[in-house]
Symmetry: C2
Subunit: 657 residues, 2 copies
Amino acid sequence: MANEMTTANGQPFDRASLESLMRRRMFYTPAFDIYGGVSGLYDYGPPGCALTNNIVDIWRKHFVLKENMLEVDCTMLTPYEVLKTSGHVDKFADWMCKDPKSGEIFRADHLVEEVLEARLKGDKEARGQKVEEGVEDPKKKKKKLKAITAVKLEDAVVQEYEEVLAKIDNYNGDELGELIKKYNIKNPATGNDLLPPVAFNLMFQTSIGPSSNLPGYLRPETAQGQFLNFAKLLDFNQQSMPFASASIGKSFRNEISPRAGLLRVREFLMAEIEHFVDPEGGKKHPHFDEVKDVELELLNREVQLAGKTHVETTKISKAVETGLVDNETLGYFLARIQLFLLKIGVDKTKIRFRQHMANEMAHYATDCWDAELFTSYGWIECVGCADRSAYDLTVHMKKTGAPLMVREPRKEPLTIEEFQVDINKKKFGPKFGKDGKKVEAELLALTQDMREKLSLDLKNEGKITVEVPGVGDGKVEVPQEILTIEKRTRVENVREYTPNVIEPSFGIGRIVYALCEHNYWTRAEDEARGVLSFPPTVAPTKVLIVPLSSHTDFKPFVRRLNNKLQDIGISSRVDDSGASIGKRYARNDELGTPLGITIDFQSVKDDTFTLRDRDTTRQVRAPLDDICNAILNLVNGTEQWADVAKRLPAFEGQEVE
Amino acid sequence: MANEMTTANGQPFDRASLESLMRRRMFYTPAFDIYGGVSGLYDYGPPGCALTNNIVDIWRKHFVLKENMLEVDCTMLTPYEVLKTSGHVDKFADWMCKDPKSGEIFRADHLVEEVLEARLKGDKEARGQKVEEGVEDPKKKKKKLKAITAVKLEDAVVQEYEEVLAKIDNYNGDELGELIKKYNIKNPATGNDLLPPVAFNLMFQTSIGPSSNLPGYLRPETAQGQFLNFAKLLDFNQQSMPFASASIGKSFRNEISPRAGLLRVREFLMAEIEHFVDPEGGKKHPHFDEVKDVELELLNREVQLAGKTHVETTKISKAVETGLVDNETLGYFLARIQLFLLKIGVDKTKIRFRQHMANEMAHYATDCWDAELFTSYGWIECVGCADRSAYDLTVHMKKTGAPLMVREPRKEPLTIEEFQVDINKKKFGPKFGKDGKKVEAELLALTQDMREKLSLDLKNEGKITVEVPGVGDGKVEVPQEILTIEKRTRVENVREYTPNVIEPSFGIGRIVYALCEHNYWTRAEDEARGVLSFPPTVAPTKVLIVPLSSHTDFKPFVRRLNNKLQDIGISSRVDDSGASIGKRYARNDELGTPLGITIDFQSVKDDTFTLRDRDTTRQVRAPLDDICNAILNLVNGTEQWADVAKRLPAFEGQEVE
């Protein structure tokens, strides 16, 4: 388990130099930069955009294509009523505290975290311990605190703070308010007292149409569109269960005070799966066997509530058997999530799965595991995998009356023995008059137990007495002439149920950022030479084409190579600038380009080219077709560089600096 | 030129049956349907989503990969100030009229169009002419008018109406108001008078952050993000011009009263290119030669203003030569747009390029050609190709001071002879005191012509007189002791300029819809059997796998086929429902699936399979590897069905109905 962030080749990780690289090479840039920027909004430049597209592409193949998921694309604009029903209008909120004097606004949980962590640091300093730097919490505001003062705390206080921090995600607004009072937390910049936490809804509001009488929001997740279409999707799937829908698109959260770069943004790309499963029969998954031996690092709820962060490596089959992970379908997706993360190049030692604590879960979830990736900001939630039970389908069905449920013929007809209530309408109406409806409703609502008891009364006394509020004195007698209660057998051929939903939900932007941290290192010979070692499938550009110089003899070769690569669908870039070959390769190391082709005077003579591997800087030389073939194999993942280096003759020529 | 819409096999086109198919097969569905829907918002179901993804994929290869464009992904949330500067806050509006009694709101131009067209229809009826049905304008409200009354109009009135309709996009609010008065146009439903047209801004407004002091909008186009990043993109491109950026993403327009299904929506997918080009030297394009012989159907501005719609077929090289299309870069993209549309399966006879009239153009454009596709709604703008000149870069540079320009070393230093103004600051200050700045500014702003004239005055009279509003009586004398105006030579080594922008902008949703109309037909033997003949590259699913029956012997074959196809990246679906083979194929004809594999008892015996072509319903039989190979070639476009049918043995077995 990683405790301090190191680079891909084991050096200490320097976030500032990676971020500088990412901005310099335009992986991303603050949106509206020339207007001063807007916090929490970022644009992706060419390499960031290509990286994201490639990851989305692999995601689509790994999940949608592989499992025949039904991909949909629903609108972001969402009318008020839908999100009122889903619970987001009332519950999709964070707690914020205002400094009434300065007007500054803080996110309450982040403030508590930040202040307690600062005090713990001060305590360590006072005790003469080494203060660890470099691992920071992403939720923490980066705004400079007053310089940490070395104040020793009571041992009991240290322990209390640490326990609070371990379950910081588990407090509600009142509890956060109490912590703020108890620990005497103020605005760190001004020392002012803060108002108690109030809920701030995180949805962006707008108005649809010209008459402004249709309020709406930008969706906070892609899921709702998938739920609303459930009946049509089931139809499309020819009524066959289980099945999954999926959606890739932007969602929006109006964060109170977003910092931490790409990790906390107001507009972000999500890829979400809604897997609909029969709640009966243990939520089995038909392909669970294929992943049963995958090992995951699991951090469960109980460990966290005990104020610990101990993780266990567990085979997913065992985790499901022991009930640590609730069911096969949830387990299947946890394993598939890890396989996806590994496929795109995430560092295996920097993945763990953390279970949510009760208060931390979204209002719709009954269980949730996050895939967290370790970064210089600490452990970051990158994929959530929630069991939403039947929550969403149930609330929308109740609100709209639409049949968001499954009706399936029973393999064996179900025989039910039950007490049935029959009313003799002809006599019943005249007897009760205007109270008839109320009495009837009360009779039909009787439980099986009550019916059994009353059937005996009816037999023994010739009448029963039921409570009907609002009729007479609240007690009504019903004689046996107008009522029968009998045990009978009924046969049910069709079963109706509301499916449960298992939802793996990917924050693509966070994954992209963590991937960059995991793949970043600097060449031993020169710390300023950063490298991003993305796997070829994921790399933004696959090949750099470098003519030795601007000599005109090289130009037709550049054009031919470029066209050839375009024809086979490989993205390449030509760098025919005057810079040295070494400089040009250094630039492309930073862009994560895995392969380079050099055109030199020998190319002009014998039509061979050198192919360079980014990570080892080794080169081979071969004719064009062999080079292209090797590139295709490397990009498709069917060959590794070691294979290519074995097959094709090495080229030992010096790089011309 | 098509005048009435026909299907791919020449039958009369029936929109209702296509729309029913598209909804039934979940190409799209009204968003929030179970909540009653919201007009102008649609969700794409699995086939619509896959079709869109495939088109986007081809777009990316055709434009971004082919021309090394710099793809970026910018935020949709956009602060007020950016869109104020770009002109959208003031000018991105439509004209709406309100019925003050009913509260109903109409889009003014659509209302005029609708009423005049209805009257022309009534006139035709009165004259006993056939009234053409089936071609409707998408901008027209579909709401039922009162039954058309057959009223004959004066010949002159008919001509006037037709002229108004030909240039309906060219009227501003006042002019529309006058037309409404002149032609006595009322609310068609109630007969009420309408208020005069007022501007309604089409952007969705929201507020960013918790303090609601940062108003923002959802972007109306992806372009602004690209412009704001211009300096960084130029840097990324190593200062090399010309180059293009590109972006694919959702944009939003709060349409007044959207109807016409997928053609007028409030949230839509755009793919936009901003090609930055030197305004000097005729806006040449380096690859123009590759497209010079492409022939386009061009409908120019003058023809439309004359109230006509006559189109000429012209080679793009000739159109640029004659100045009909302003420059090579614009011409290059018009040709590339057509090539793209043909590649995805648009009907060549249903494409034309229409030039915008002056008032019709967006506020930023100096010229614009729309690629229009013919559909049952008439000619529909699907791609705009505008010359935005230096408008956007200039306004943002002026507002922010950011250097949105190109600085390039001149090949030959430029020698400039010019009159220079020098001020003797020591004497100038004391003489003019607090007016000094104003006088100086006026002197430095003098044109070369003025400077020449004044240099003579200075020589002849020892002083000059300049107009400086607000200083003394507005005329100021400046003596030669404090002023020199001399002709001198200056050498400029660097050239600075603001690039012009050519912007091809694709409405993907409209293209998807038009493509469906162009590829729809019904089998001659059965009108109810609809087919969507998408090219295999574009088709949502490539292969349907059909076991002859649910016999268990077939199951391992189904699994093997499915896995094999997944491995080679081909999307397939299994239909092992109990329905007849014919029914299963019919369903997939409607989904546009080009290929089908049947597994029958012979497959079990000798491991061969039949491959069926959707359009001809012909089949071949071959071993698995041959079948997969043929599928790959068909999907990549390297083989056509005719080639496959020649290579592989035909299978003449009857389809089991």
